[in-house]
Subunit: 476 residues, 2 copies
Amino acid sequence: MSGIVTAGADLFAQALTDQAVPVTRVDWQPPMPGTADDLIAVAADPLRTDANEKAAAAMLAVQATLVDVAPASEVLGLERGQFLHAGPPIEWERASGPLRGALMGAAALEGLVADPEEAAGLFGAGDLSLEPCHHHGTVGPMAGVVSPSMWMFVLEDQASGRRTYCSLNEGLGKVLRYGAYSPDVLERLRWMSSTLGPLLATAVQRVGPVDVTGILAQMLQMGDEAHNRNRAGTLMLLRDLAPALVETAVESGFDAGFNNREVAQALSFIGGNDHFFLNLAMPACKLALDAARDIPGSTMVVAMARNGTDFGIQVSGTGDEWFTGPAQLADGLFLGDYGPEDANPDIGDSAITETAGIGGFAMATAPAIVRFVGGTVPDALATTRRMHEITLTENSRWAIPVLDFAGTPTGIDVTAVCRTGILPQINTGMAGKQAGVGQVGAGLVTPPAEIFPKALAALAQQSATRLPGTERTVAP
Amino acid sequence: MSGIVTAGADLFAQALTDQAVPVTRVDWQPPMPGTADDLIAVAADPLRTDANEKAAAAMLAVQATLVDVAPASEVLGLERGQFLHAGPPIEWERASGPLRGALMGAAALEGLVADPEEAAGLFGAGDLSLEPCHHHGTVGPMAGVVSPSMWMFVLEDQASGRRTYCSLNEGLGKVLRYGAYSPDVLERLRWMSSTLGPLLATAVQRVGPVDVTGILAQMLQMGDEAHNRNRAGTLMLLRDLAPALVETAVESGFDAGFNNREVAQALSFIGGNDHFFLNLAMPACKLALDAARDIPGSTMVVAMARNGTDFGIQVSGTGDEWFTGPAQLADGLFLGDYGPEDANPDIGDSAITETAGIGGFAMATAPAIVRFVGGTVPDALATTRRMHEITLTENSRWAIPVLDFAGTPTGIDVTAVCRTGILPQINTGMAGKQAGVGQVGAGLVTPPAEIFPKALAALAQQSATRLPGTERTVAP
C-alpha cells in the first residue's frame, strides 16, 4: 500500500499523521461514475431501510455449529461425474489454470481417469458437470473443487435448521485447491477421505455440536482475521476434538477400527496446518449470510466469490443473480522465486469471510497478516476503519480488542460502495496461473469496481416497480 | 485506573487526549525521595554501563526449552519434610493465610499429617523446612508451594546447560496455590502426580525439547501477555504434545501402561485450563534472568517475588540479597461475592514474567486482560509505553504487533525506577486472605516503592568501593 485514505476527521487520521504516514482526508467523494440516478432511485425504495435492517439482523442472529463430517456424495448428493467449483458459474473453456488443475486432479481422485492430464478432454467435451459451490449451500477456498468422495464439514444453524458445507483443508503449498494435482496431492486427499474424515466424524458425533461462531469470536481476540490467518481457531478446534478423537480409538465398539497411530497422525495433520479452521470459518460465514438472502429491497451483499476468471457478487434483494467482472491480481508477497507474472487472478469462495465482516474487514485485529503481505500496522487499523464506511452494521459478537472492542464492520451495502467508491478489502492466497503449480503467494485484492454499479442498476430497476407514479419496468 | 501518566510528547499522548482520557504529560519528575545522592554514586560506577549491557544481552540470549517432567524429589532433591514457597524467605509466624493453607495442604499430600489442619502445629514448631523456590532454581505461582511428590517442568537453556523448574498448573478457583486444601484439591494433586506428570514426561521425551521461548513469541501475537492470560500458549503446548501423548499409549513397550481414557483425561485437563502454560512461561523467564545474575555493577532487577507478606527484589549487581517491603493489595475485580476485604496482599513468583518484560509489561498485546481487571484499551497501551521508561532494552524476539512490532520493554533498571518514580506494573491473581479459601479475584498491582531505594543504596555502596579517591566502605 502506498498511502491511506480516511473518511472524516478522527483519532486515527491524527495518529497516522503523527507517524508520518501519507494521509488523504476525504470528507466526501463523488459516487462511482454513472451511478447517480440509480442511487437516487434505490434511496427512494420504500422497502430499503427495513429490508436492510432485517437482512443485517438475520445475519447476526445465526449461530453456526459443526454438527457432522460426511462425504459430499452423501450430504450434497453429488454423483459420479459431478463437480463443484468456487465463484460464479463458468465453463471449462473460460476456466483459469488453477481451476482446471484442481478439476483434473479431482477427476483422477474419483477414478474417472488414470492420469489427471486425460481429464481435460472430458471436461472440454462437456462430459462432466460443473456447478458453483454456492448453488449447493457450499463454499470452497481457492479453486474450491468438490467431488463426490471428498468429506465435508456440515454446519448448522440450530434455530433454523439451515445447513452449509465445506471440504476439509489440505494445508498449504502443493495442494488441489491451488491447482496442483501431482500424485502426492492425490495421495493426501485419499488419506483425508479414508482416515481424517471418518475420524473427525466420530469425534464430532461424540463431542456434540462445536460452536464455530463462538470460536470465531475468540479467534478475533487472538490475532486471527479468519481468512489468511486461522492459527488460534485451528488450535481451539484441536483442543475441542482431541479428547474425543482419543476416546473413539479405544472403544471396542468402534467399527472403523482406527488405531492410536492414525489418531496421532490426524492430530499432527490438523496441528501442523494453521489454515485448517478456514474451512469452518467460511461455511459459518455463508450460513450467516444465507439467512439474509432474498429480502426484497435489501441492498446487502450476501456473497462475494471468484472462479479465477470472474469475480461475482450476489445481493439480498436480487436473489440468485450474479453480478460479475474480471477477477483482479492480488498485490502482495510471493513464495520462493515466484513473481507477479506467475500469479493467477483472484480465485475462491473465501471472500465469504469479508462478506460477513471478517478477513480483510477485521484486519485491525491481525496486524501480522498485513505485515506478511507487505503493509504496516496503521494500514491494518485503517482498513477496518474504512470498511465501516461501506457496511450496514457492526457485529458486536465479533469484537476487535485494539479498537476498544468495536464490532467488525459487517454487511456490505451496494449503495454505500457506489456512493463512496470504497471497495471491499479482501485478504487472499495467490494460486499459480498454470494448472499444477499450486500456491505462489498471498496478498490483498479488491473486487472489480464495475460489479457494484451493475448490482445497483438491478436494485434500481426493482425499486422502480415499487415507487408510486413510476412506470413499472417489470410486469405486475 | 483513574488516569494515565505519559512521559514525553508522543503519538500515544495525543491519541489519548483525542479520546478524552485524562492525561498528565510528564517530561520530567523528581527522583524518589532520598535517592539523589545514591543515584549520583551509582551513575559514577565505572562498571555500570558495560555491566548492564552484559546483563541484558545474557538475558536475551537464553533459549528456554522444556526438556523433562519429573518429581521434585528427583530433580530438586527435595526430601520428606522439605517445602519450597514463593517470594523472599519467610517463617511460618509471618506467613499469610494462603501460604499457610498451601503448606498445610502440601503436608497432607506428602502424608505428614492425615488432616491439613494438623500441619499448622508442625510448621509452627519448626519441624518442617521452608525455603524460597528461587533458592532452588524454581518459581511457583501464588503460594508457590512445592513438595517432594509434585511433578515439575524442567526447562533448560541448551547453550549453557542452565536449568529452572516449576510445578504443573492445577487450574483456577479452589486450588492449592491459592491456599485451598480441601479433599478435592488434594485429590487433583494426586492425579497430577500419578497420571498427568508421567504422561507429560513420556510425551516430552518422545517429542524432544519444546521451544518455550518460541511459543512465548507466538503467544504475544495472539493476545496473551503470559501472566494473567496464557490461552494461546496452552493451546500451542497441547498441539505440540498431543500426538506424542497418543502415541505413547499405544506402544506395547510403554511401561506405565496408560490407556486412552487417561490420555483423553490429560488432554481435557490441559485444554480446559487456559493458565496451564503459565507454569512454563515463569521458569522460561527465570532461566533468562538467571543468566543475568551476579554481574558486578549491573543495576538490573533479576527477580521480583512475593510471599504474601513481603515483596522482594534481587538485583544482578548485589547477588542473592533480597530487598523487601510490604506486599500490596491488588486493584481489580473480584469473583462472585468476594470483595477487597477478602483479598490477601500480593503473592507469588509469577512477577518473574514482568521482570523479564512480559505480563504487565506486555499489556498492550492483551487488552482483554486490562478490560477484565477494570481498565481500558488505552490503559493497556499506555502501560507498555510507560514500562519503556524504566527498562534497559527491548526484547525484539517478543514483539507487540499493535505497537508496530516493537519489542517488549525488558530489564528493569533500579536507577531508572528511582529516577522516575515509575513502578513496575504487575498483573496478578488475588488469593483469599484466609487459608483454605482459594482465588477471590484478579487485578493490577505494583511493588512497594521503598524496595528500589533500598537496592539503590546497596548498589551505591558497592559503587563507592570502585571509585578512585573514594573511601572504601568494604574491606579490600
